[in-house]
Amino acid sequence: MKYWSILFFALLSIPVLAQIETEHEQTPIDTASTLIVAGNQEAEIAYNNGVKLLGDKNYLEAVKAFDEALKHNATFNQARLNKAVALSEMGKYPEAIQELKVVVKSESTNNKAFFALGAAYYEQGAMSEALESFGQAIQNGYSGFEAFYLSGQAAFRQADYDAAIASFSLALRSKSDSWEIYNDRGSAYRMQERFDEAIADYKKAAQLVKSSAIVYNNLGSAYRKKGDFESSILNHSMAIQIEPANHIGYNNRGSAYIDRKQFEKAIEDFKKVIFLKPDYAYGHNNLGSAYMKMKDFDKAEKSFEDAIRLSPNYGEAYANLGAVKEMKHDIEGAVKAWKKASENGYSEANQYINYYKN
């Protein structure tokens, strides 16, 4: 029996990478590699049907077809792999993982299966397992940038920024024109407070994409972290220019205005944030902070209360509410707010409470 295997290039089933690809080139379905079917090959017939359905994005029927193939040939790993791809497309990552585990158990060097498994784990939020599977894929000769990129993202999400930077750097070796990878490496540098390197990467990303509010916001935030508030404001303004309804841009620029002690301008920006996204608790909290700086305690108190109403477990807003109550000489109210802040994870509030304990 001779047949050609077809593997739907697994990255198509990974939203993260699909997003990159949509802006570049789509990986085509390799129609030339469909199976050549001999007589009485029910498994292969069902498999070919599954591939067609997958190509048509009819994932439910594709899964049924691959199941039919597997009924006739339980060791038909290509069918199982593509079934996993279809399941992933449907967001059924646990089932996809189950299928892929069967594949890699019987084919321990199948780097594509390992990559697909890693991708499914990644989408499921299981970063350690994802990293392990990506490692197996690379070890078994997977040469695409995707494994490195996703490894970088998984490491980033685990706050292992050294590993993230290393993986993003490897990804850039084979895909040096990706603004996304530069952006993400910049973010990893930023998290390590290596702001100059972060800024360099974000700038490179900005050159590659030119009109991304995301990159300019990140660049603005890196400048703010570095203490260069003027550049921060400039870049957030760029983000706002690209995307005038970008509430994140206004929110971040407002914060930079607070750092520059331009409180009126900060208030203007935070009001714009709330206009664009009235239920955005951060905007209300930050507006309260700006009012606090202006010593307008009544307005500050109202803003913090609005933030808490929108996000009842918002520890930082409770901490700020405590601070404004303290300034209004309502010590009892302040301590009550700080207790809520502490209950909601803002542990610094405990020392404020202790001060008023005795």
Partner: protein, 682 residues
Amino acid sequence: MRNIYILEVVILFLFLTKIAIGQDIPFTKQIFGNDKASLKDALKAIKDGDYYGSNEQFYLALDSYNVAQDINPNNSELNYKIGRIYLEIQRYSALPYIKKAHELNPGVAPDILFLLGLSNQYNQKFTEALEIYEKYRKQLLPSDRDQIDAVAKRILECKNGVELLKNPARAFITNVKELNSPYSDHSPVISTDESVMLFTSTREGSVGGRANSYDQEYDEDIYISYKTRGRWGAPVNVGDPLNTRSEDATVALSADGQSLLIYNGQRGNGDLQISRLDGDRWSWPEWLSGEINTKAKESSASFANNDRMIYFVSEMPGGIGGKDIWVSSKDRKGRWSQPKNLGTTINTPFDEESVFMHPDGRTLYFSSKGHNTMGGFDIFQAVLNDDGTWSKPENLGYPINTADDDLSFVISASGRNGYLSSKREGGMGRHDIYMVTFLGPEKPMVLSNEDNLLATLKQTITDNAMEKTVELKTIRLTVVKGVISDAISGAPIVAEIEVIDNEKDEVVFSNMSNSKTGQFLISLPSGKNYGLAVKAEGYLFHSENFNIPGATAYQEIEKEIKLNNIKKDVKIVLRNVFFDPGKAILRVESYPELNRLAGVMNEVPSLKIEISGHTDNTGSAAVNERLSRDRAKAVVDYLAAQQIASDRLTYEGFGYSQPIADNKTNDGRQQNRRVEFKVVSE
């Protein structure tokens, strides 16, 4: 007749025109015309005001001037006079009068610019005051030496004020209305735990019962108030023997509230006396013994180091200038030693006043007209360094300090609340007592931001950025307070309380519990291992151990101490007996406690005791039993070495067979590791 009418109309027109255009309107016939009665009343009132003013009867002077002011509020000279009176009795109120006097007639008096500067300064308008003082300085002749110096000092104060106002203190001030009256209320003193306040007041109802003719204030008396559920109760005149028919004023209260220093102006230009609380009665005040009281005035003071030191203010010779702060220690006979001047870091050529040492024994508060005051007496803080030197005094800042006098500052042990006396706008009259609530370190605002840090991840990542925090200043002090009572009847006991620095074997505090309530209060600065021994006649002593590491922040510990009679089978835990871990070698810190036990054995020769050792349940029973027995024996050997007959001492080791607390917790295990004695025979 018609002509007279026309003249009157013209005069009225002129009068009104002058008012309308803000002109200086003299008290003359030309202006008042036929309204002779008003003119007569006004001139008489001014004359009376001048008389009272020259006799320093400022309140009467003000009443008189106000009669004339009601008739004609646009006379520069009268406004000047009223302003001057206010600069004597209520400085912040002078500004509108002095300002108007200057506007109506810039040449109304040679010192009008200086007074305008002062009036602005007393309203914290430092920038305006600076400009006016500079203008005034340019007018002075080189021969006006005193005025040149005075204005130079004022300019300096205003410059300080400008700086201090840039960074106000994180505190707010409230008038303690429960305590204040329309009369002068001042010199608050508080117990360490802020439960009791005594203060001085010139309100109606004084023991002397007379109001003086100068300011209509009654003789100063001492009042007491208790704080319950966070509020001060109605003040009560403490009466006899503290209050007399003369002036009686509070100076300082000891940390435990059992000793009170008072000021008596009838001897040596003003001397200090002490009174002790016996139950609920204050003892007859006695002059402080030793070297503190001199022929010069001693005006304020503060106990320190558990009443073994006194910081006080005196005008005695040998100082830096004016009133200075001095310190004296109690000698072995309980007399106050030769005072030492605190030196030029604290004292200045100007007056210092109102000294207060915090119970931590290191932080000194005082008022001064020197250093970087923004005007009059400001309150400062300085810290005693380990090498005996003082840190540079720091102005407590606005709004604690104002350009007027801010005096009599005291602060609770926790450092959260302070009290002071001053005259401020919105007060109840004259000097008032104000509470300062310290807000602690500035709370940084937390800004919430987020970014799409990973380009392909829709989910944003939040970044909560906190502003830089201000350093947290912590008071390192433990306050132990409670009641000593009979273990059986629960009745309060008057007992002797001794605190020993175990490492130095040095008594750092010794006092009696209150005879009526059995209450006590001790302040223990962090960084030492303290032994607390409580002794009372007919009772076995009680001991506690407080090992307080140096970094321990302010805490209050309440302790109910029950004393047992010397009776057969009574057991007492020796909490200040220490061994090396896993060994039966007594550490030297144990000696004070064992010496105390030897003392009891000597006092009661019939007493026979059994020393027993106990462990926690860590390790094997056999090892623990051996260790506990060896430790009990070590105690017996020590007592024998102190000449206690061996037939009065037996020992036993119980290992972990007799726990007194849960071995599952650290605290419980610590309590179980102990040495105790049992009365075998009385």
